[in-house]
Assembly symmetry: C2
Homo-oligomer: 103 residues x 2
């Protein structure tokens, strides 16, 4: 992959064992995936891997590919995104975001 | 993206300001990208974004897509991968890995 902006978000749930909260967050991300500037997306959960360097403590991985930073910036203020934050932010206790562009 | 195993690694350099070390790590990853089971890859650096939730402190992002866990497992023991670790591990001070599969 070249000429891409990767926006990778990891969510930790407030109610770590709540399957309902997990399902609500995933449903919210599915709606969020309709934002126009998203090229492709992946909604993930931790894989069944375990080594010292692996952080498998998160609940949901949200990986987005954009064509460029401008498209990612547009996503941040997209009404669909703002609605997602408003309706889902009570679900998570922690979020880490890593934004990457070509070296 | 569906039916995918995302292996996303973030590297922090020991010599944080060394452009040579950064270039050596990137060159190592370019060689590493030839592992047979990798579907696609991205070698990244932090984007020019800054919010409270964004961790932009890493030096290099290494994002790999595999068809499934078996292919990722094969990558872990691929001689090209073992050679990469042997020749490049002196460069980094910290590595965090997030492995994700479809929810």
């Amino acid at each position: 992959m070249k000429n891409v902006f990767i926006h990778h978000v990891y969510f930790w749930l407030k109610n770590t064992d709540s399957k309902d909260d997990l399902a609500t967050l995933v449903a919210g991300l599915e709606k969020l995936s309709t934002c126009a500037t998203i090229q492709s997306f992946h909604i993930g959960k931790p894989a069944a891997t375990s080594r010292e360097v692996i952080d498998g403590s998160y609940a949901v991985s949200w990986c987005l590919l954009f064509a460029n930073k401008a498209d990612q910036d547009a996503y941040q203020t997209d009404p669909i995104h703002l609605h997602f934050i408003e309706t889902c932010q009570h679900l998570w206790s922690k979020v880490i975001v890593y934004d990457s562009v070509d070296v």
